[in-house]
Protein backbone atom coordinates (compact mmCIF):
# COMPACT_ATOMS: atom_id res chain seq x y z
CA UNK A 1 0.00 0.00 0.00
CA UNK A 2 2.90 2.35 0.75
CA UNK A 3 4.02 3.12 -2.78
CA UNK A 4 0.61 3.04 -4.39
CA UNK A 5 -0.94 5.02 -1.56
CA UNK A 6 -3.12 7.79 -2.86
CA UNK A 7 -1.95 11.27 -1.95
CA UNK A 8 -4.88 13.48 -1.11
CA UNK A 9 -4.41 16.88 -2.73
CA UNK A 10 -4.32 20.08 -0.71
CA UNK A 11 -7.79 21.52 0.01
CA UNK A 12 -8.74 23.17 -3.24
CA UNK A 13 -9.99 26.72 -3.40
CA UNK A 14 -11.56 27.74 -6.66
CA UNK A 15 -10.06 30.97 -8.01
CA UNK A 16 -13.55 32.39 -8.61
CA UNK A 17 -14.63 31.93 -4.99
CA UNK A 18 -11.46 31.68 -2.87
CA UNK A 19 -13.17 33.04 0.26
CA UNK A 20 -16.55 31.41 -0.05
CA UNK A 21 -17.74 28.57 2.16
CA UNK A 22 -18.20 25.29 0.39
CA UNK A 23 -20.07 22.08 1.08
CA UNK A 24 -19.11 18.62 -0.19
CA UNK A 25 -20.77 17.55 -3.44
CA UNK A 26 -21.74 14.24 -1.83
CA UNK A 27 -23.91 13.96 0.15
CA UNK A 28 -24.65 17.60 1.05
CA UNK A 29 -25.12 19.10 -2.40
CA UNK A 30 -26.46 16.08 -4.28
CA UNK A 31 -29.32 15.75 -1.76
CA UNK A 32 -30.69 19.09 -2.95
CA UNK A 33 -30.58 17.83 -6.55
CA UNK A 34 -32.37 14.66 -5.46
CA UNK A 35 -35.07 16.56 -3.52
CA UNK A 36 -35.82 18.99 -6.36
CA UNK A 37 -35.83 16.11 -8.87
CA UNK A 38 -38.33 14.21 -6.72
CA UNK A 39 -40.62 17.25 -6.54
CA UNK A 40 -40.68 17.34 -10.36
CA UNK A 41 -41.15 13.56 -10.51
CA UNK A 42 -44.14 13.89 -8.18
CA UNK A 43 -45.59 16.52 -10.51
CA UNK A 44 -44.87 14.19 -13.43
CA UNK A 45 -46.77 11.27 -11.90
CA UNK A 46 -49.73 13.53 -11.02
CA UNK A 47 -49.88 14.92 -14.59
CA UNK A 48 -49.51 11.47 -16.17
CA UNK A 49 -52.22 9.99 -13.91
CA UNK A 50 -54.78 12.79 -14.18
CA UNK A 51 -54.16 13.70 -17.83
CA UNK A 52 -53.09 10.43 -19.47
CA UNK A 53 -51.70 10.64 -22.97
CA UNK A 54 -54.41 9.85 -25.51
CA UNK A 55 -54.39 8.20 -28.89
CA UNK A 56 -56.20 9.39 -32.00
CA UNK A 57 -57.51 7.30 -34.88
CA UNK A 58 -54.95 5.12 -36.62
CA UNK A 59 -52.82 6.97 -39.18
CA UNK A 60 -54.49 7.21 -42.58
CA UNK A 61 -52.36 8.69 -45.40
CA UNK A 62 -55.50 9.29 -47.48
CA UNK A 63 -57.40 11.38 -44.93
CA UNK A 64 -55.85 14.70 -43.93
CA UNK A 65 -57.26 15.97 -40.63
CA UNK A 66 -58.59 19.54 -40.51
CA UNK A 67 -56.28 20.90 -37.82
CA UNK A 68 -52.69 19.71 -37.69
CA UNK A 69 -50.79 21.18 -34.77
CA UNK A 70 -47.34 20.20 -33.56
CA UNK A 71 -46.36 19.75 -29.92
CA UNK A 72 -46.30 22.95 -27.88
CA UNK A 73 -42.52 23.24 -28.12
CA UNK A 74 -42.64 23.39 -31.93
CA UNK A 75 -45.61 25.80 -32.13
CA UNK A 76 -43.34 28.84 -32.39
CA UNK A 77 -41.64 27.61 -35.57
CA UNK A 78 -44.93 26.27 -36.93
CA UNK A 79 -46.30 29.80 -36.69
CA UNK A 80 -43.07 31.58 -37.57
CA UNK A 81 -42.86 30.09 -41.08
CA UNK A 82 -46.30 31.57 -41.77
CA UNK A 83 -45.17 35.12 -40.96
CA UNK A 84 -42.86 35.98 -43.93
CA UNK A 85 -45.59 35.14 -46.53
CA UNK A 86 -47.93 37.50 -44.65
CA UNK A 87 -45.36 40.28 -44.75
CA UNK A 88 -43.82 39.97 -48.22
CA UNK A 89 -46.36 37.74 -49.96
CA UNK A 90 -46.03 34.04 -50.66
CA UNK A 91 -43.11 32.84 -52.73
CA UNK A 92 -39.68 31.32 -52.59
CA UNK A 93 -38.18 34.27 -50.74
CA UNK A 94 -40.80 34.05 -47.99
CA UNK A 95 -40.23 30.31 -47.64
CA UNK A 96 -36.48 30.84 -47.41
CA UNK A 97 -36.89 33.54 -44.77
CA UNK A 98 -39.10 31.20 -42.76
CA UNK A 99 -36.41 28.57 -42.50
CA UNK A 100 -33.19 30.61 -42.71
CA UNK A 101 -34.03 33.02 -39.87
CA UNK A 102 -34.58 30.21 -37.30
CA UNK A 103 -31.47 28.40 -38.64
CA UNK A 104 -29.38 31.55 -38.18
CA UNK A 105 -30.93 31.93 -34.72
CA UNK A 106 -29.76 28.45 -33.72
CA UNK A 107 -26.24 29.15 -35.00
CA UNK A 108 -26.18 32.43 -33.04
CA UNK A 109 -27.36 30.56 -29.92
CA UNK A 110 -24.52 28.04 -30.30
CA UNK A 111 -21.83 30.71 -30.70
CA UNK A 112 -23.37 33.14 -28.18
CA UNK A 113 -20.43 32.98 -25.71
CA UNK A 114 -18.03 33.88 -28.52
CA UNK A 115 -20.13 36.86 -29.60
CA UNK A 116 -20.80 38.18 -26.09
CA UNK A 117 -17.28 38.51 -24.72
CA UNK A 118 -17.83 41.21 -22.09
CA UNK A 119 -16.89 39.84 -18.69
CA UNK A 120 -19.87 41.42 -16.81
CA UNK A 121 -22.07 38.68 -15.41
CA UNK A 122 -24.63 40.41 -13.21
CA UNK A 123 -27.90 41.09 -15.10
CA UNK A 124 -27.85 44.64 -13.66
CA UNK A 125 -24.74 45.33 -15.74
CA UNK A 126 -26.19 43.69 -18.87
CA UNK A 127 -29.41 45.68 -19.23
CA UNK A 128 -29.41 45.77 -23.03
CA UNK A 129 -28.80 42.00 -23.27
CA UNK A 130 -31.60 41.38 -20.77
CA UNK A 131 -34.06 43.60 -22.67
CA UNK A 132 -33.23 41.93 -26.02
CA UNK A 133 -33.57 38.47 -24.46
CA UNK A 134 -36.88 39.46 -22.87
CA UNK A 135 -38.19 40.64 -26.25
CA UNK A 136 -37.04 37.44 -27.98
CA UNK A 137 -38.70 35.34 -25.29
CA UNK A 138 -41.90 37.38 -25.57
CA UNK A 139 -41.74 36.75 -29.33
CA UNK A 140 -41.50 32.99 -28.75
CA UNK A 141 -44.47 33.08 -26.36
CA UNK A 142 -46.52 35.27 -28.70
CA UNK A 143 -45.82 33.04 -31.72
CA UNK A 144 -46.71 29.94 -29.68
CA UNK A 145 -50.03 31.43 -28.49
CA UNK A 146 -50.78 32.62 -32.02
CA UNK A 147 -49.96 29.16 -33.36
CA UNK A 148 -52.14 27.54 -30.70
CA UNK A 149 -55.20 29.61 -31.63
CA UNK A 150 -54.61 29.86 -35.38
Amino acid sequence: MSEAEYKRPEPYQHPEYPEEDTIPFFPNYIILEVITSYIVLALLVVLASLLPTGLEEQADPFSTPAHIKPEWYFLWIYQFIKVPPLLIGPGLLAELAGILIPAIGIVLLIILPFLDRKPQRHPRNRKLAMVITGLILAGFVALSIWGWYS
Partner: protein, 225 residues
Protein backbone atom coordinates in the same frame (compact mmCIF):
# COMPACT_ATOMS: atom_id res chain seq x y z
CA UNK B 1 -1.68 2.29 16.42
CA UNK B 2 -3.23 -1.00 17.45
CA UNK B 3 -6.96 -1.36 17.46
CA UNK B 4 -8.77 -4.33 18.82
CA UNK B 5 -12.33 -3.59 17.63
CA UNK B 6 -13.31 -4.81 14.18
CA UNK B 7 -14.23 -2.06 11.68
CA UNK B 8 -17.80 -1.68 10.37
CA UNK B 9 -18.92 -4.02 7.65
CA UNK B 10 -19.05 -1.22 5.09
CA UNK B 11 -15.52 -0.20 5.97
CA UNK B 12 -14.47 -3.79 5.39
CA UNK B 13 -16.30 -3.91 2.07
CA UNK B 14 -14.54 -0.66 1.15
CA UNK B 15 -11.21 -2.14 2.24
CA UNK B 16 -11.83 -5.24 0.11
CA UNK B 17 -12.32 -3.12 -3.00
CA UNK B 18 -9.57 -0.66 -2.11
CA UNK B 19 -7.07 -3.52 -1.66
CA UNK B 20 -7.73 -4.57 -5.25
CA UNK B 21 -8.54 -1.33 -7.06
CA UNK B 22 -6.88 1.39 -4.94
CA UNK B 23 -9.90 3.53 -5.67
CA UNK B 24 -10.88 5.02 -2.30
CA UNK B 25 -8.72 8.12 -2.61
CA UNK B 26 -9.88 9.24 -6.07
CA UNK B 27 -13.46 8.34 -5.19
CA UNK B 28 -13.35 10.52 -2.09
CA UNK B 29 -11.90 13.41 -4.06
CA UNK B 30 -14.72 12.92 -6.58
CA UNK B 31 -17.50 12.75 -4.02
CA UNK B 32 -16.13 15.43 -1.68
CA UNK B 33 -15.68 18.01 -4.42
CA UNK B 34 -16.42 21.35 -2.73
CA UNK B 35 -19.48 23.17 -4.02
CA UNK B 36 -19.74 26.89 -3.15
CA UNK B 37 -22.66 27.85 -0.95
CA UNK B 38 -24.07 30.38 -3.44
CA UNK B 39 -25.07 27.37 -5.57
CA UNK B 40 -27.42 26.03 -2.89
CA UNK B 41 -30.52 27.38 -4.65
CA UNK B 42 -33.34 25.53 -6.33
CA UNK B 43 -32.65 27.23 -9.64
CA UNK B 44 -29.17 25.75 -9.71
CA UNK B 45 -30.84 22.32 -9.81
CA UNK B 46 -32.62 22.77 -13.15
CA UNK B 47 -29.88 20.96 -15.07
CA UNK B 48 -29.93 18.09 -12.58
CA UNK B 49 -33.73 17.90 -12.87
CA UNK B 50 -33.41 17.73 -16.66
CA UNK B 51 -30.94 14.87 -16.27
CA UNK B 52 -33.33 13.07 -13.87
CA UNK B 53 -36.09 13.38 -16.47
CA UNK B 54 -33.67 12.04 -19.10
CA UNK B 55 -33.12 8.96 -16.91
CA UNK B 56 -36.90 8.57 -16.53
CA UNK B 57 -37.15 8.70 -20.32
CA UNK B 58 -34.53 5.95 -20.55
CA UNK B 59 -36.35 3.65 -18.13
CA UNK B 60 -39.89 4.25 -19.45
CA UNK B 61 -38.61 4.14 -23.06
CA UNK B 62 -37.02 0.73 -22.51
CA UNK B 63 -40.26 -0.52 -20.92
CA UNK B 64 -42.29 0.75 -23.91
CA UNK B 65 -39.84 -0.86 -26.33
CA UNK B 66 -40.65 -4.28 -24.83
CA UNK B 67 -44.11 -4.09 -26.45
CA UNK B 68 -43.78 -1.55 -29.26
CA UNK B 69 -43.60 -2.76 -32.88
CA UNK B 70 -42.20 -0.21 -35.39
CA UNK B 71 -44.22 -1.11 -38.50
CA UNK B 72 -47.23 0.75 -39.93
CA UNK B 73 -49.31 -2.43 -39.62
CA UNK B 74 -48.50 -3.09 -35.99
CA UNK B 75 -47.40 0.19 -34.36
CA UNK B 76 -50.87 1.53 -33.59
CA UNK B 77 -52.13 -1.81 -32.28
CA UNK B 78 -49.05 -2.25 -30.11
CA UNK B 79 -49.73 1.15 -28.52
CA UNK B 80 -53.36 0.14 -27.94
CA UNK B 81 -52.08 -3.08 -26.38
CA UNK B 82 -49.72 -1.11 -24.11
CA UNK B 83 -52.58 1.16 -23.03
CA UNK B 84 -55.26 -1.50 -22.54
CA UNK B 85 -53.58 -4.80 -21.78
CA UNK B 86 -50.17 -4.15 -20.25
CA UNK B 87 -50.34 -3.55 -16.51
CA UNK B 88 -49.64 0.16 -15.91
CA UNK B 89 -48.81 0.45 -19.60
CA UNK B 90 -51.01 3.57 -19.93
CA UNK B 91 -49.15 5.16 -17.02
CA UNK B 92 -45.68 4.33 -18.37
CA UNK B 93 -46.66 5.79 -21.76
CA UNK B 94 -48.16 8.91 -20.15
CA UNK B 95 -45.08 9.43 -18.02
CA UNK B 96 -42.86 9.07 -21.11
CA UNK B 97 -44.86 11.67 -22.99
CA UNK B 98 -45.25 14.13 -20.10
CA UNK B 99 -41.61 13.74 -19.15
CA UNK B 100 -40.64 14.67 -22.72
CA UNK B 101 -42.55 17.94 -22.39
CA UNK B 102 -41.22 18.69 -18.91
CA UNK B 103 -37.69 17.91 -20.07
CA UNK B 104 -37.88 20.57 -22.77
CA UNK B 105 -39.26 23.05 -20.22
CA UNK B 106 -36.56 22.35 -17.59
CA UNK B 107 -33.85 22.33 -20.26
CA UNK B 108 -34.91 25.81 -21.42
CA UNK B 109 -35.25 26.98 -17.80
CA UNK B 110 -31.72 25.72 -17.09
CA UNK B 111 -30.41 27.63 -20.12
CA UNK B 112 -32.18 30.79 -18.97
CA UNK B 113 -30.61 30.48 -15.52
CA UNK B 114 -27.17 30.04 -17.11
CA UNK B 115 -27.87 33.01 -19.38
CA UNK B 116 -29.12 35.34 -16.64
CA UNK B 117 -26.23 34.56 -14.27
CA UNK B 118 -23.80 35.02 -17.19
CA UNK B 119 -22.35 31.58 -16.52
CA UNK B 120 -21.74 30.87 -20.22
CA UNK B 121 -19.00 33.50 -20.35
CA UNK B 122 -15.29 32.81 -20.44
CA UNK B 123 -14.02 30.22 -19.46
CA UNK B 124 -17.29 28.29 -19.82
CA UNK B 125 -18.02 28.84 -23.54
CA UNK B 126 -17.52 25.20 -24.46
CA UNK B 127 -20.05 23.95 -21.96
CA UNK B 128 -22.65 26.36 -23.32
CA UNK B 129 -22.04 24.92 -26.81
CA UNK B 130 -22.40 21.35 -25.46
CA UNK B 131 -25.58 22.46 -23.69
CA UNK B 132 -27.16 23.91 -26.86
CA UNK B 133 -26.43 20.61 -28.61
CA UNK B 134 -28.17 18.81 -25.74
CA UNK B 135 -31.22 21.07 -26.22
CA UNK B 136 -31.23 20.28 -29.95
CA UNK B 137 -30.95 16.56 -29.16
CA UNK B 138 -33.90 16.87 -26.76
CA UNK B 139 -35.96 18.51 -29.49
CA UNK B 140 -34.91 15.76 -31.94
CA UNK B 141 -36.03 13.15 -29.39
CA UNK B 142 -39.41 14.89 -29.23
CA UNK B 143 -39.72 15.14 -33.01
CA UNK B 144 -38.84 11.50 -33.75
CA UNK B 145 -40.84 10.13 -30.82
CA UNK B 146 -43.95 11.97 -31.99
CA UNK B 147 -44.36 9.71 -35.05
CA UNK B 148 -44.05 6.37 -33.25
CA UNK B 149 -47.69 5.95 -31.99
CA UNK B 150 -48.71 6.06 -35.68
CA UNK B 151 -52.03 7.78 -35.11
CA UNK B 152 -53.42 10.62 -37.24
CA UNK B 153 -51.71 13.26 -35.10
CA UNK B 154 -48.38 11.46 -35.42
CA UNK B 155 -48.53 10.96 -39.18
CA UNK B 156 -49.75 14.42 -40.12
CA UNK B 157 -47.75 16.29 -37.49
CA UNK B 158 -44.60 14.61 -38.79
CA UNK B 159 -45.63 15.26 -42.40
CA UNK B 160 -46.01 18.99 -41.79
CA UNK B 161 -42.95 19.10 -39.53
CA UNK B 162 -40.63 17.40 -41.99
CA UNK B 163 -41.88 19.50 -44.93
CA UNK B 164 -39.99 22.45 -43.41
CA UNK B 165 -36.71 20.73 -44.37
CA UNK B 166 -37.77 20.61 -48.02
CA UNK B 167 -37.56 24.40 -48.19
CA UNK B 168 -33.80 24.46 -47.50
CA UNK B 169 -32.12 25.84 -50.63
CA UNK B 170 -30.35 23.40 -52.98
CA UNK B 171 -30.28 20.38 -50.67
CA UNK B 172 -33.84 20.59 -49.33
CA UNK B 173 -35.24 17.73 -51.41
CA UNK B 174 -32.26 15.58 -50.53
CA UNK B 175 -32.59 16.32 -46.79
CA UNK B 176 -36.30 15.56 -46.90
CA UNK B 177 -35.63 12.22 -48.58
CA UNK B 178 -32.88 11.47 -46.06
CA UNK B 179 -35.23 12.17 -43.16
CA UNK B 180 -38.26 10.34 -44.52
CA UNK B 181 -36.49 7.53 -46.35
CA UNK B 182 -39.15 7.88 -49.05
CA UNK B 183 -41.21 10.57 -50.75
CA UNK B 184 -44.00 10.28 -48.17
CA UNK B 185 -44.03 9.29 -44.53
CA UNK B 186 -44.15 5.50 -44.72
CA UNK B 187 -42.85 2.28 -43.21
CA UNK B 188 -39.30 3.43 -44.00
CA UNK B 189 -39.84 6.66 -42.11
CA UNK B 190 -41.20 4.81 -39.09
CA UNK B 191 -38.22 2.45 -38.78
CA UNK B 192 -35.89 5.37 -39.45
CA UNK B 193 -37.41 7.54 -36.71
CA UNK B 194 -37.47 4.51 -34.41
CA UNK B 195 -33.77 3.81 -34.98
CA UNK B 196 -32.86 7.48 -34.51
CA UNK B 197 -35.05 7.78 -31.40
CA UNK B 198 -33.89 4.53 -29.78
CA UNK B 199 -30.22 4.30 -30.79
CA UNK B 200 -28.68 7.32 -32.50
CA UNK B 201 -30.04 10.03 -30.19
CA UNK B 202 -29.39 8.15 -26.90
CA UNK B 203 -25.76 7.52 -27.93
CA UNK B 204 -25.29 11.17 -28.91
CA UNK B 205 -27.05 12.34 -25.74
CA UNK B 206 -24.75 10.22 -23.56
CA UNK B 207 -21.68 11.60 -25.33
CA UNK B 208 -22.77 15.21 -24.93
CA UNK B 209 -23.91 14.64 -21.34
CA UNK B 210 -20.49 13.16 -20.55
CA UNK B 211 -18.79 16.22 -22.09
CA UNK B 212 -21.20 18.53 -20.21
CA UNK B 213 -20.53 16.85 -16.85
CA UNK B 214 -16.76 16.48 -17.27
CA UNK B 215 -16.47 20.18 -18.12
CA UNK B 216 -18.61 21.34 -15.18
CA UNK B 217 -16.50 19.11 -12.90
CA UNK B 218 -13.26 20.42 -14.34
CA UNK B 219 -14.21 24.09 -14.13
CA UNK B 220 -16.46 24.10 -11.10
CA UNK B 221 -19.72 25.98 -10.95
CA UNK B 222 -19.53 29.68 -11.91
CA UNK B 223 -18.66 32.16 -9.18
CA UNK B 224 -21.13 34.32 -7.21
CA UNK B 225 -22.53 37.36 -8.99
Amino acid sequence: METTSRPNWWTRVGDWFDERLNVRGPLEVFLRKPVPKHAIRWYFCLGGITFSLFLIQGVTGILLSLYYKPTPEQAYDSILFIMNNVRFGWLIRSIHSWSASLMIATCVAHMLRVYITGSYKKPRELNWVAGVFLLLLTLAFGFTGYLLPWDQKALWGSTVGSEILGVVPLIGEYLLGLLRGAAEISALTLTRFYGIHMLALPVLAFIFLAIHFVIIRRQGISGPL
